[in-house]
Amino acid sequence: MPMKRIKMIKPFMALTLSMILTLSMAACSGSDSNENENKSESSTDTGTTKTDDATATAPATPSAEEAAWKLDTSPIELSWFVGASWYAHQWGDSLNSKYITEKTGVNVKLEVPSGDANEQLTLMMTSGQLPDLISMGSWETAVKKLWEGDQVYALNELADKYDPYFYKVAGDGTLKWYKQPNGNTYGIPNDSYSPNLMHETGMTAANQTFLVRKDLYEEMGKPDLSTPEGFLGALQTLKDKYSTYKGQPMSPFFAQGNVPYGMTEYLQNLLAIPYEKDGKVYDRMTDPDYIKWLKTFRSAYEKGLLNADFLVDSDQQVEEKTNNARYFMMIREWTGMAAVNPMLAASANPDSYYIAVDGPQNSNGDSAKLFPGNMDGWMVTMISKSTKNPERAIRFLTYLASEEGQRDLFLGKEGETWDNVGGKPELKTDLVNLVNTDIEKLEKEYGVLDTYWMMRNPVIVNQWRPEKSPVIKQMEDFANAQADIDSGIYKGLDPLGDSEVAVNWAKISQNWQEVMPELIMAKDDAAFDKIFDSFLSRRDKYGFVQVMEYRQTELDARKAKMAE
């Protein structure tokens, strides 16, 4: 009998393996042809630039009152590096990108890193071959290196020369925010939120939410999850009554980004732990409320109410569990659920989607203080000095930053994808329906809304945003209500890069990533304290004092900038 089974397994394995192989080969050849395309297009690119130079000699004077892109709409190609390996959109396939290319003459060749964006950009810097436009996460070390290494143009200088209209659209605040000590501004951010604006509109970029699966939460009678007792109680109920779902084990808890984000910063924000006390940067890690909650997690683990899966799962495993609604509670950015939630709500169990509720709270019962988004924004876009067309590049950026460009990028062409309804642009109904049913199709075929977010300015585009489906809106509203609007200034105070203090911090934070799981798996509270104390002394040894000094200096500098 066993022999027979083995015989059965072999051909099956062979089949599986060969299938995997064919698939992987298909994937390989796919990317190969892409690369070839790249090459051939870049070679035609040099061709077009030559002809372009000839036409550009026609007299054209840019003015401060009018966008300069209209002066020259001859066809040209600009390469644009988007520093996010997951960014999968193309330029030229979608209706909207075709429209913009036709309108401005600029064809964009989007490039994404195959691995870590920072590494890839660094590599390109050493080779001296940079794409024309670069969008990078504002926190990445490569951004600073580009600025210091003088590898990107100062936008203000380009604007003076080719398109003074830039100053009109670039938003005084953001320009000032990214102004370097030498008086130049090298990048323009997207998703940048100023506190004033957030106070005014109540719209923030807050997305760190505490989510629970609606049906379970309600069946349990909406337990209070804000105290350790309530939290443990709910986990106990889950274990007793709902330990499996669709034949698979339920995972009680998930924290996004694992230790450094979900279990550290996000949890601390839920607990409303302050960043500063009396003008001094506060060490949030040692806050009694935070420790108390870590100990709560520890005791949940000890009682078998919590799995270690949330500390070890790969992204792919997390995605699988999320799509099958196998998590009960999550500390997670609601934006990451924007695609899954409608899907779950449309599934056979329509109440198995996630809703935002009050999660862990500090001993005062304060409501959460979520990061609201800040002036840094998300990514900054720069023009590299490798570009042969700085003139067209700055004009294109100016266009994209202007209200007209924002509308084109966000809504597309009037009459085609949106209509003017009573003086207000509105996306066509069938497209709005796609938002809730098949966002992928919307982005791929039409390329509107958040498809090309590299220059997205929330102040402008949010007014045109179609109403979100209720399962998403609930989370968003909840996060907005808990956003701590004036706390944007505290984001990313930690030193980055290769300076001595940054290395100290890298050592500390990497050590914390190892220590946190040990804390949660400690056998009792005494063991927890011991591990934590030894972490603190190691932290001192690695030079935590300098890190705190750095944070203080950084914070003071930011405050001074805000006051300007």
């Binding site: 393996l17 070390t141 210091e148 799962d313 980055l496 990533q513 190892e514």
Partner: protein
């Protein structure tokens, strides 16, 4: 003597010229970069022109030699490599010997093809498959529970003590067939007359395998062994990077991963180069030692 060699070389120019691309490749990618080891002694910054960074002597070497994590990564690398060397080295040899004894050519080819296919799956994919197998609902847990070896699911990947074995077994699973190819090729080159003669002398299959097959591929084994010893401070970065997580990192962080985490992530190129430089020196020393030992013991060596 020398003239004879030159004459042979000229006569074979078509064949000899085939190696030229390889030499060019090696010169560009292995020899020229050696010059840039110099940045191990500098505070190199990519924003500045090459060689204009200040010299700092052995600062970076001191940096890692005084770091506990560096020594931990050495321990992990040696641990994983030793398991691979001691237990894993013989596996492809045994596999190729067994394969050689299969009479049906079709069967032989099929087995060989299937066994080396996993080699072509990238670790990013294979690692993902492994993680699924090792997960709570994965095959391994189901199998172990089904066989009564354990009574509840174990998160294998959360236990540091399993990590070295996970890397070992997943590597065996993925690479055995591929590593056997070189032995299979060596076996194929053995003169069949030797077997026929042995058969006439009354040697059975075991004796033929031992006295002819193994003896004939001994030089190949020796070379691969020497190279394996020299590579003991290396590790399969892709594999470890896929399988590691915060919980098993204390056993998972190999030297490569240490260089990545402490060097490249923060853009410390000088530091990374310094660690790599030190590793290469040790690897060279190991290579010479292994070669010397092999020559003394069996007479086979690389040089």
């Amino acid at each position: 003597m020398l003239q004879g060699r030159i004459r042979t070389f000229v006569r074979q120019w078509q064949l000899q010229s085939m190696v030229i691309p390889g030499i060019i490749w090696m010169f560009i990618f292995c020899y020229i970069p050696m010059f840039w080891l110099i940045i191990a002694f500098m505070d190199y910054s990519i924003a500045k022109p090459m060689l204009s960074s200040p010299f700092v002597g052995f600062k970076h070497f001191e940096d890692f030699l005084t770091d506990d994590r560096f020594w931990r990564s050495i321990r992990n690398t040696l641990g994983m490599s030793s398991i691979k060397l001691v237990l894993g080295f013989a596996i492809p040899i045994v596999f190729s010997l067994l394969l050689n004894e299969i009479r049906s050519v079709r069967m032989k080819r099929t087995v060989q093809t299937i066994s080396y296919l996993p080699h072509f799956i990238a670790w990013t994919i294979f690692g993902g498959i492994m993680l699924n197998w090792l997960g709570e609902g994965g095959v391994i847990n189901q199998l172990a529970i089904g066989l009564g070896l354990q009574d509840r699911e174990v998160l294998f990947n959360s236990e540091p003590k399993y990590f070295w074995w996970i890397t070992f077994f997943s590597d065996v699973l993925k690479e055995t067939g591929w590593s056997a190819i070189i032995y299979i090729a060596a076996i194929a080159g053995i003169d069949p007359a030797l077997y026929e003669a042995a058969e006439l002398d009354g040697a059975n299959r075991w004796q033929r395998m031992w006295h002819i097959t193994i003896q004939s591929i001994r030089p190949t084994i020796a070379i691969l062994f020497i190279l394996a010893v020299a590579g003991i401070l290396g590790s399969n970065f892709d594999q470890i990077f896929m399988l590691k997580n915060n919980m098993n990192l204390k056993m998972a962080e190999s030297l490569d991963l240490y260089i990545y985490n402490m060097g490249l992530v923060s853009g410390r190129y000088s530091f990374s180069t310094a660690v790599l430089f030190a590793r290469s020196i040790v690897a060279l020393w190991l290579l010479l030692m292994a070669n010397y030992a092999s020559k003394k013991l069996s007479g086979d060596g690389i040089f």
